[in-house]
Amino acid sequence: MYQNKHSIFLIILLGFIIHKYYCKEQTYEHKPNKPLRFHVAEFNFDHVSDVYAITLWILLGSLAKIGFHLSHRLTEKFPESCLLIILGLIVGGLLYVTHLTEQKAYVLNSDTFFLFLLPPIILEAGYFMPNRPFFDNLGTILLLAIVNTLFNTICIGLTLWGFQFTPLYGGTQFEMLPCLVFAALISAVDPVAVLATFSEIHVNDMLYIVVFGESLLNDAVSVVLYRMFASFANIGQPNIIVMDIVLGCLSFFVVALGGVLIGIIFGVIGCFTTKFTEHTPVLEPLIVLVYAYLAYLTSEMVSVSGILAITFCGMVMKQYVSFNISKKSDATTEYVLKMLSSIMETIIFMFMGLSTVSDSHSWNTGFVFMTILLCLVFRVIGIAIFANIANCWRLLELTRIDMLIMSYGGLRGAIAFALALVLDEAKIARKKEFVTATIAVVFFTVFIQGITIGPLVKLLNVRRKQIEEPTMSAKLTNRMMDHVMTCLEEISGSGGSNSLRDRVRNLDRNYFKRWLLREPPDRKDIKLLQTFKKINTLTAMRVHDTARGLVPSASTATVQQGIPEHHHLRSHSAYGNVSELIAANLPENTVPDLMSYENHEGEHHHNDAEMHHFLDTNLYSARPRAAIHLRNQDETGSSDDGTHARFEKSYHHRDQRYLPTRLERELPHGPKTISKTIHNANRPIGLTNSSPKHTRSPPTTHQQPNPRSRSRSIAAHQHSPIPSGQRTKSISKDSRISPLASTHIENEGTGRTAAERSRPWRHLSITEETGASSSKTANIPLANGNDPNLHHIPLTVADFGGTYTKSPEYMGEYATTTKPEEPSSRPDVRDIFNKQSEDVSEQQDDGSTESITRL
């Protein structure tokens, strides 16, 4: 009863409170006549509608893109841009039917376009501009961008205007100045369309950069011409004096050079800022983006060419920023740029389709037809004239086919469309015709030319872009060629592009690099060294990709020897060799070239040590990085850890970002198989050797007591150790025999035989091995107890795949051998973990603890 009383009081109190708050609500709402109740949730679309629409657009664009790429048949035949426009048309149709088009967020307006959609695309283009081809072809590009655009504008404008005296337009009158305005916007090649199309057809760098460079740099011209003619139209034809035209020409230089200048200034400031971001690395990508955007906005503000500004800003930043910022930031920047530009491009094309469906059209067959025709004709004529002029000074001449592709690649796109949309209907009476014609031209170029340019390139056998891996020798020789040609040009007194480049390079090295880089380069050729590092990292990644289990055992061997040895840093030649071998034997699908690898490895100890040392001192050592796979490395001492951490980090990157396509993954059978065999062969040693006291455990399982010859021991029955001076020779010699040997070893794990009994640790590998290589049918007993490598079973890809799936477990297993025994080195590794808070590292940790409990 007492309790009841209490509860009644409580209820009353609660009711009172609710009532009170209710009243408050009512006063807030100012709706006294309607009894209000508290709403658990409210529907408030207006509050978010605009952003919601934009986000939905982005989502739709992404989904569309994903969808298109799921169907290979579709993307093979049609460029993405076409599909997106079609999608836009469909959505536009739907919106038009439902009368949603009146809402602003759903149509392309030129402010959105120029302020948000365009800059990321251009920035990306500038940031990833292949500098050398660009500057090598700068003369041609400028000629085409400036003179050719001018030529096109004038010719198209005047011809279009001229045709109004014929009955072609059906009596519609077009004045001269509006025609020129229209010509100015329609004759400029569009960078977005060119990018979208040319990125899919992979023509050679030179051709690409000439067309794309033209499309970027002609912005200045088209902006000036457009603005000039538009303001002339405002002034009125009779009132124009010569001064206006002179000022118009002058403004070209202001617009072009001003844009470039603003871009460079902001780029330099951006680089300078990244000099000091050592402690705030998360902001580094943002700085790049913000400065570039600021450059764009600033130049738009002072009405110079924003496209030029942001292009050059990106180009300048790319040169120096990547030296300053951390590797992660660098990757992030690139990724974000790619992401942004890709989504913006998608949205632009979708919006184009969408905005097509509207009432503001006025179809004039004659005018549209003439515009398309004239655009084509004058493009061809212009290219023919100016490419031939350019050939007078070009070293590498443009061929007829080049010219054809150049003229065919002159695509028009969204910029023209956006410019057409902002035309002032009060001044330019025929705006609707112009908009319609622009859309027609854009659709024509994107659809007809965009679809046919790919087959055309194939048909004409245009030199394609060659994707080459960076090799040290190529880089070296390339650089040597530059030097030699510079000297020879000076000697012959014909001061060509090489000596000019050399001067720029000197300037860059002596001043800009010194001012803008955190660590001023003290070497003569920083790029050469960088290439070397890059190659090494790539090699490392590949090794890791193919052999995750390799790392720990390798370094355990290192402990034994007291030499820091790294399998990742192995020279490239091992791979070249293996892949050659694999290529030769591919039909059989069975050639793990263990011998060459092993021998190589054996004789590489010193080499690797040196390389390791080199990397240790020369790799960018901004700060310690998270050590993700750091397990056995703990033992090798502190100096070792840093490098390893770096490599592990890049592996980690690779795992997440650079996951190759299936085909690529399966292609290099050699390294993969080898790594597995090595892995099998090495792991036992790794296990036995990682004893708590770091002492070298007696090599009970091998005849050779010297651990240095461990790697060779498997092959020992066939080959005596080869002096290190001949390591490379040994590869080719071994390559014939090695397939057999390696297959043996591969099977070694599966055979539960004498070897197992004599090596208790092998048990572990067997359990996993049998699971992994499910395709293997038989466990064949070993004929030779000493040497368990005598079985010939062809390996299949599935076998190797097994290693992949198993590898985390392997890692865990390794962890068990070392982790509990390393209390001293563990903490600082953990510190690093904490600092970087990588979820993967945690995951790895989990894995290791798991395996500890398991064992």
Binding site: M485, C487, D502, F532, N607, F614
Partner: protein, 191 residues
């Protein structure tokens, strides 16, 4: 100077040279005047010092090596006369069409020149020492010898397919397959 030079160059020599090298007469004359400019003592040949006087060559990391090649392989006794000079430069003339390629400016001869930049003892192999020398010149002095050695080993490893720890001309050409060496090793001669 141009008119002067053309007088000093015999007409038949000129034609001969043009025919052999594929240069136009104007280009040859221009090169001749350049030769004369470099030949400060007016003795009809260029010496090592003459070439080193060109500032760009002087500061170029490979300048001296290039002059070595020029003097040893194309001139004699550390001198190079005009004929040798122009045959040297003929290597780097760009063959526009097939008909204008002479025996000098084939891709092969360009690559050979490049190869000679490494191979100073003319054993038709680039060995480790030679590569080291070039690397040192190009990378500069501040880097440790070990590091250079590592790079050299790496480079040899990349190229070396027969395992003799040196690079033969064929191996050398193989890496350059992908590079447009022909274009890069060409220059524009003013006419």
């Amino acid at each position: 100077m141009g008119s002067n030079a053309s007088i000093m160059l015999q007409q038949e020599d000129l034609q001969n040279i043009c025919q052999q090298t594929g240069f136009t007469a104007k280009q040859v004359q221009r090169l001749y005047s350049r030769f004369k400019t470099l030949d400060k003592r007016d003795c009809g040949f260029l010496t090592r010092e003459d070439l080193l006087c060109i500032p760009e060559v002087n500061i170029n990391p490979l300048g001296e090596r290039l002059i070595d090649v020029i003097m040893d392989d194309y001139g004699e006794n550390n001198k190079i006369n005009f004929k040798q000079f122009i045959f040297l430069l003929a290597k780097f003339r760009r063959g526009r069409v097939k008909s204008s390629t002479t025996e000098f400016n084939t891709r092969d001869s360009k690559l050979r020149f490049l190869f000679d930049m490494y191979d100073r003892n003319h054993d038709m192999k680039i060995d480790r020492e030679e590569l080291l020398q070039v690397l040192k010149m190009m990378v500069g002095g501040n880097i440790h010898d070990d590091q250079i050695a590592t790079i050299a080993d790496h480079t040899i490893g990349e190229l070396d397919s027969d395992g003799d720890k040196s690079i033969t001309f064929e191996e050398f050409c193989k890496t350059l397959e992908r590079i447009d060496a022909d274009d890069k090793m060409s220059m524009k001669f003013l006419s």
